[in-house]
Amino acid sequence: MRRVRVRVVDQHSVARNVCRLWIEAESPVSWTPGQFFHIRVGEGTEHVLRRPISLCEAADDRRFALVYRVIGAGTRWLADRRPGEPLDVLGPLGKGFPLHSGDRRALLVGGGVGVPPLVQLARELRRQGTAVISVVGFREAADVMLVEELAARGQVRVVTEDGSAGTRGRVTDALTNDVVDGADRFYACGPTPMLRALQERLGRRMPGYVSLEERMGCGIGVCMGCAHLCRTPDGGTAYRRVCTDGPVFPVEEVVFS
């Protein structure tokens, strides 16, 4: 865990209001898919909280792509960074997606800006010989992104709410038996209603992991700001830290209220 001096290498739009930012670290760092970077935004003390953005692609141990939606002041500032500029970044932080080398097939499910962390995950799964099938959902055609990247590693099904690209509906509608049967495990990242539905639909059929989102303070485990309710081994519940105990949790441990 460390603070890394990184430089912006490249930044382009990949979908409506979504940017892909390539950064290069001064020295190599170790990483796993599903981890995140905690990025300082703005000048001076205007923004006291860093912004968490997932690792989307790793070219090697120094060059990483982050894909993010521009939604507020912090991501707007980030979208204005140009090649050569420095960034103050912590990470990669948190616990990423565990890989199980015996798996023959994995099902990846992503919604909106939950899709980015699945890209490097798909690569790592393929590298160990696990077949990958991805189901990704977006609002409409203008939001669709990263399909080529996922398609390079396996089958992809695209779903949009209005049917303007792929099939119409939600990701859960696309989880037909031919997709689900034969999968040894699922991995998911996306909005809470999607994760809750997956816990119900897939949780009993196969083991799985979900990547959670909560508002973060420190990002390094000291403030208890990023709490999410989880089940404890003794049958109770307790708030756990998304930043250090997660963001990825085994699906059966998570409580969606």
């Binding site: 003390t45 909280l49 700001g225």
Partner: protein, 325 residues
């Protein structure tokens, strides 16, 4: 992966190896500190995670998370929200309870050889007293800090901090069972902070910590609801610094107790301002979230500031801005 940022190690010394040595030592309520900088409660957990970022033995002291008699689950999320140059938090004192803190957390800090101040919270006088009684038996405690000013737990904490009579009652009750110096952490959510400070001084407090967070809120216009699940939260960070400075300045002149000053400290010069306002030491909270090495960076910046201004000992700065001087 490396554990600590190499730039945070000994930068000052290398740049100024022939510069005069600055005496950073400080003392609060009889506790000697090698420098006046410590993390603020709740912004450092119990230290384990921070130990991965720098050597904790460099700190003047360590102040741990608010600790209660029983484990506290904490509030539902969202618990934090950003505000201009600050943030709101409503953590709800999530902590494992005093017994586990004594058994598991405090011993882990022993190797650093730094005084440990335990922040104590409760919802009744009896609860504060019982936590203090149990901590009195721990060999790992240097002082207690009574959190009578937490805005985030229902019926807990803050009503003690806004009523001088109750603040005095909890202070003297804890003093009666504690063998450690007792700091009382004051709430800024009062009209007369000096009256509170005087009340706890008379009740036997050994020092004051100030300020805790200011109660505030944010509203999400789209949802037409408060942003925090708790509704209200505590405001901290650079936005509160002017309020904190004013309160430290007023209180430190009105009482004889040493003051640990905090509220928006993000750089060495902020620490200098608090010392000049009358604080004997300073605590750093929200700045740890901007930058995990904030505490040790501030120690270096404070040292550099003293060198540049010909200050031989940081103690000289304490109260330098008081009117009477």
């Amino acid at each position: 992966m490396k554990d600590a940022d190499p730039r945070s190690k000994g930068k000052g010394q290398e740049l100024h190896h022939d510069a005069p040595v600055v005496d950073l030592s400080a003392e609060v309520a009889g506790i000697r500190l090698k420098n006046p900088v410590m993390p603020a409660s709740g912004c450092f957990s119990y230290g384990r995670e921070m130990a991965r970022w720098y050597d904790l033995s460099r700190l003047g002291a360590i102040v741990v998370k608010g600790t209660t008699l029983e484990a506290m689950p904490g509030n539902p999320p969202p618990r934090v929200a950003e505000t201009p140059a600050g943030m709101l938090n409503a953590i709800g004192l999530q902590n494992p309870g005093v017994d586990r803190v004594i058994a598991e957390e405090l011993p882990a800090l022993r190797p650093y050889g730094v005084p440990v101040i335990v922040n104590v919270a409760g919802s009744t006088v009896e609860e504060y007293v019982e936590v203090a009684r149990r901590l009195a038996a721990s060999p790992d405690v240097a002082a207690l800090e009574l959190n009578i000013s937490c805005p985030n737990v229902r019926c807990g904490g803050m009503h003690f901090g806004t009523d001088p009579a109750m603040a005095a009652e909890v202070t003297s009750a804890v003093k009666a069972v504690s063998r450690h110096p007792v700091f009382v952490k004051l709430s800024p959510n009062v009209t007369d902070v000096v009256a509170l400070a005087r009340a706890v001084e008379r009740a036997g407090a050994d020092g004051l910590s100030m300020i805790n967070t200011l109660v505030g809120m944010r509203i999400d216009p789209e949802r037409r609801r408060p942003v925090l699940a708790n509704g209200f939260g505590g405001l901290s960070g650079p936005a509160v610094k002017p309020v904190a400075l004013r309160m430290v300045y007023e209180v430190s002149q009105a009482v004889r107790l040493p003051v640990i000053g905090m509220g928006g400290i993000a750089g060495g010069e902020d620490a200098v301002e608090f010392l000049m306002a009358g604080a004997s030491a300073v605590a750093v909270g929200t700045a740890n979230f901007m930058n995990p090495t904030a505490c040790v960076d501030i120690i270096e910046e404070l040292t550099d500031w003293c060198r540049r201004h010909g200050v031989r000992a940081v103690r000289e700065l304490i109260g330098a801005a008081w009117r009477a001087k």
